[in-house]
Every structure is written in C-alpha cells, then in structure tokens.
C-alpha cells in the first residue's frame, strides 16, 4: 500500500554526529522587542525535536529565521552543511527544508491535488509526473478521496493534512511543523501524531512547535524550551517536564493543554 518514495527518498538513518540543522547565536529584534535572543540548538538527522514555550516566546520567529523568511540580526543557520545566510525561502526549501504555517495557507481555488503539485513540481517539472507523485502523497496522508475537490472546501483537520502533504511533496530532509495539532479533537490529534511518526520513520527529521503537550511528550526525542526569545531549558521530555524554570515559565499561560479539548 505505501510507497516509500512518495514521502522521502532517503532511507532511515540513526542519529548522526554531524547535525542536520545547526543554529548558533540567532538573534532578531523588532523595534523595541528582542524576539529571539542568542538562540542555539541543533537537530540531528532523523531526529524529532520539539520547540515549546509560552505564547510570544519567539518560536514562530525562530522558524521564520531558520527557513529564510526573516533575516537574522546575528547568528548562523547551517543546514545540511550549508550556511543559509542570504538565501531566499524557496532556495532553503530546495535544499531540503520544508515548513508549514501556523495559520494555514492552502490555495483555496485550486484543487487539493493541484495544491500538492505546486510542491512536487519543484523536483519534477513534468506536470504528469508531478501529479502522479502528488496523488501518491495524498493517498499516504489519507486525502486521496478529496484530491479533485477545491482546497477551500476542506475541514480544519483536512487542511492540516493538506499542509502536511504539501510540505512532504517537496521531499524534505527536515520538516518544520508550526502548531499542526492546534484546534484538533483528541482523535484527530492522535492520527496526526501517528502520521508524523510514520514520516519520521522514513528518515525525515522533524522540528515541531507545539502547545498540545500530549503530542509533544509522545513524539519528541528532545525538547527545547523558549521564553522571551531565549532558550531556558533543553533535554529529554521527562527532564524538561520537571524542570522548575519551565514550569514557572508556563504558569499563567492558558494555551498549554495537558489533555486536548
């Protein structure tokens, strides 16, 4: 049923010594607000790392800096051995990093399969081949039945899947997921978690921003905690969950859910 090449051409690898993504000293200021301050961490090949923190901690800004949508004031981003300084978002994507958006951005008037084709056309210029691969990805994600419907008519959970399918269509080595579980029911969350695990088993590294703690705990191999733009903790999920600084940072933040609604 499943076709490995639909999602990633790379075989699963053990965590390598050389990090796939390496961020060092990343900083970004917007006027009076230091959104990200001297941030450093790395993601290894095939790893699942979660980036958590209260609202406004700088997580999405960090994503934008890493994927080329924002230029850092200071610091370096090295991905797959290449310094990403000065690269435009589409160039970063071509190198193998895909990102999803917190506020989903489907192409509403295009069909679902066309949405994914925009992704697959990047590496397969022939529209027929791109369509074939797009349909394969959609089948894998579970949206195959809706492939020829306009994307604007999808439900929330389906749009999340579409966002995921599009990112996968670009055949990434690293997937940046920005709050992909938000707004989902418990059952839907469980399905997405399983999907992310399946994608990871094919060798795609995952860096996810997430507030749904259940998902974070079950997926992440390592957690990086941000507050006010700075890293305040990093480590295995159990260690981070019990870290007093982390608990203090989250006190009073209603967004964090222990059990999804």
């Amino acid at each position: 049923m499943t076709e490995p090449e639909a999602i990633s051409n790379r075989p699963p690898t053990l965590q390598a010594e050389q990090a796939l993504l390496s961020i060092s000293g990343l900083s970004k200021r917007f006027g009076g607000l230091q959104a990200v301050n001297d941030l450093s961490f790395s993601v290894g090949e095939g790893e699942i790392v979660a980036l958590i923190g209260p609202n406004g901690a700088g997580k999405t800004t960090a994503f934008a800096l890493v994927s080329g949508f924002l230029t850092p004031d200071a610091g370096r981003v090295v991905f797959a051995g290449r310094d990403l300084r000065g690269r435009l978002p589409h160039q970063v994507n071509a190198l193998g990093m895909a990102r999803t958006f917190q506020i989903m951005r489907p192409f509403p008037r295009l069909t679902v399969v066309r949405n994914v084709m925009i992704a697959t056309l990047g590496r397969h210029a022939d529209p027929r081949e791109a369509e074939r691969r797009a349909r394969a990805v959609l089948d894998e994600i579970g949206l195959g039945a809706k492939a020829d419907l306009p994307a604007g008519g999808l439900t929330l959970a389906e749009r999340k899947r579409l966002e995921l399918a599009r990112a996968l269509g670009t055949e990434p080595r690293l997937l940046l997921l920005d709050e992909v579980m938000s707004g989902l029911t418990e059952a839907e969350t469980e399905r997405i978690v399983e999907l992310v695990r399946t994608i990871n088993r094919r060798g795609v590294a995952i860096l996810l921003i997430e507030h749904v703690m259940r998902a974070v705990m079950s997926l992440a191999q390592r957690i990086v905690v941000l507050n006010y733009g700075e890293r305040i903790a990093e480590g295995r999920p159990e260690a981070v969950a019990n870290d007093p600084r982390v608990i203090e940072a989250y006190l009073g933040d209603e967004e964090v859910t222990r059990a999804p609604a």
């Binding site: 994927s67 949508f69 435009l88 978002p89 589409h90 994507n93 071509a94 895909a98 990102r99 999803t100 958006f101 951005r105 489907p106 192409f107 509403p108 008037r109 295009l110 066309r114 949405n115 084709m117 925009i118 992704a119 056309l121 990047g122 210029a125 022939d126 529209p127 791109a130 599009r166 990112a167 269509g169 670009t170």
Partner: protein, 312 residues
Amino acid sequence: MKWAMGLAVAVLLALPAVLSGYAVTIFVLIFFYAFLAQAWNIVGGYAGQLSAGHAAFVGIGGYTSALLFEKGVTPWIGMFAGGALAAVLGAVVGYLGFRFGLRGFYFVLLTVAFAEICRILASNVEAVGGAVGLYITFTGNPRQFQFQDQRAYYYIALVMMLLATGVAALIERRRFGIYLTAIREDETACQALGVDVLKYKLLAMVVSSFLAGMGGTFYAFQNFSLQPGAVFGIPLSVEIVIRPIIGGAGTLLGPILGSFILTPLGEVSRSYFGQSGLHGAHLIVYGVLLITVVLFMPQGAYPFLRRLFKRA
C-alpha cells in the same frame, strides 16, 4: 469541447465571404482586442498581477515599428523589434514592482504611472512625432504589412488572436502556468514550497508585454497613425483590461468572450451616443456591465456560463 472550438474557428474563417465591409471592421476590432486581452491575461489573469498600463507596451511596439519603417525596415521585422523592446520594458516595470514587494493596488499604480510616462515622453519628444504623433505612409504593399482589403486585416487579426490563445494554452498546462495560478492565490505559501515567485512573475510579465508589443505594430499599420494619447492612454488600457475581467480572467476563453461581448457593444453605443453628441457615454455601458459582472458573476462570464451548462 475541442470540436466545438474547431467549428467556431471554421465559421470565423468563412465569415468574410458573407459579411459587409462594416461588419468585417468590427470583427477586426474584436479579434485585435481579444489578442491584447489574451496577452494581458497571462500576467493579469493567470498570475493575478493587475496591470492597468498595458497600453504602454502596445504603444512602444507600435512606435518602434513605425519609426523603423521610416528608416526602411519592413514591419514584418519591426514587429519583433517592437515586441522585444516592449518585453524589455515590461521586465523593468515588473522588476521594479515585484522585487520591491508592490502588490495589488500598488502594482496597478506603478503600471499606470509607467504608461503615463510613456505618453508624456512621446507627446513631448519631437523626434518621435510629439503631440501630433506619427503618420504612416500608405503604400498598400503587403511586404510592408499594408493591405488594400480589410479582409486581410481580418485574417491577420484572427491568426493573432488564435496564436495568443495558443500561447496561453501552452503556458496553462505546463509547470509555468500551474505555478502562476498558485502565485495568484498565495505567494508566501508558494515560496515555502520552493517556487521562485519573482522569476515566474517576471516571466509572465515579459511574455505578456512582448505579445502586447507585437500588437502595437498591427495597431499602427491598420490605423496608419499613432497618437500618444490614443496608443499610450488610459482608454486603451481600460479596453485591454475590461475584456478579460468581464469575460473571465485566468481562463483561456474569457478574454475572447469578453471581446465578443464588449467590442460590438462598444461600437454600437459609441455611434448611438456619439450621434446625440454624448461622447464617451459608451463607458457608461462598460460601467454597468462591470457592476453586473462583479455582483452576479465575479469570476467572469465564461466561468459563469460553463457552470450553468454543467448543471443543465
């Protein structure tokens, strides 16, 4: 669908045999404006970058081949020079707009400004005719793109319309066209998916302005004159833009349908209102049509009709 279009083309090819001279000239206008509308459609319809200054490219193409003609260059070559120059300027305008993030309304303003600059320059530079414009000596020589019989212009304009539509059809089915439709929806999402948005928008602009520039030669040698106000002016840009919008921007047949609807309507109201001394009143007709389309069929007449027939 394909055989219906083939039939339509066959009918159009046969029509001049039965049409009056006046009707032939109307059809020449229908085809010519449909050609320009289709050229605009590539950047304005498919890519969603609204240009309200496309007359600039028509004018540049026309002036180029007219001036070259004075130097003894046949318009059959001059049209490509005109198209090429228009394409270069299209790339410049496109780069200025797209590279610096001008979108939507601001890009419209940029294109209008560019067309106005061209008009003012042409009106004030004596070397290109100044405010009086350029006049083309009538020789009636087909080798110089001049024909005694209106029916020749009919067929040339028809071929131009079909060629432009062919270009749009080719683009539509390839990666280029598919990217454009997504760029129209959401540029940021496109960037995140690896699409070089700037490159494709520029390419659309270049193709569009090249075709419009080629149209300028037809305009010049069919009218035998070029006036800056007429060929660079807002009225021509409006004629170019309104046809795809009413017919259906971003569709293959929309610009053609739009021209078939608007051109006869425009000519009839021009002569009707013109007789009573109400010049420019045909624009009221345009306005009413535009409001109707925006209210009841915002995608345009062609998509509306297509959906109607699908339900039937």
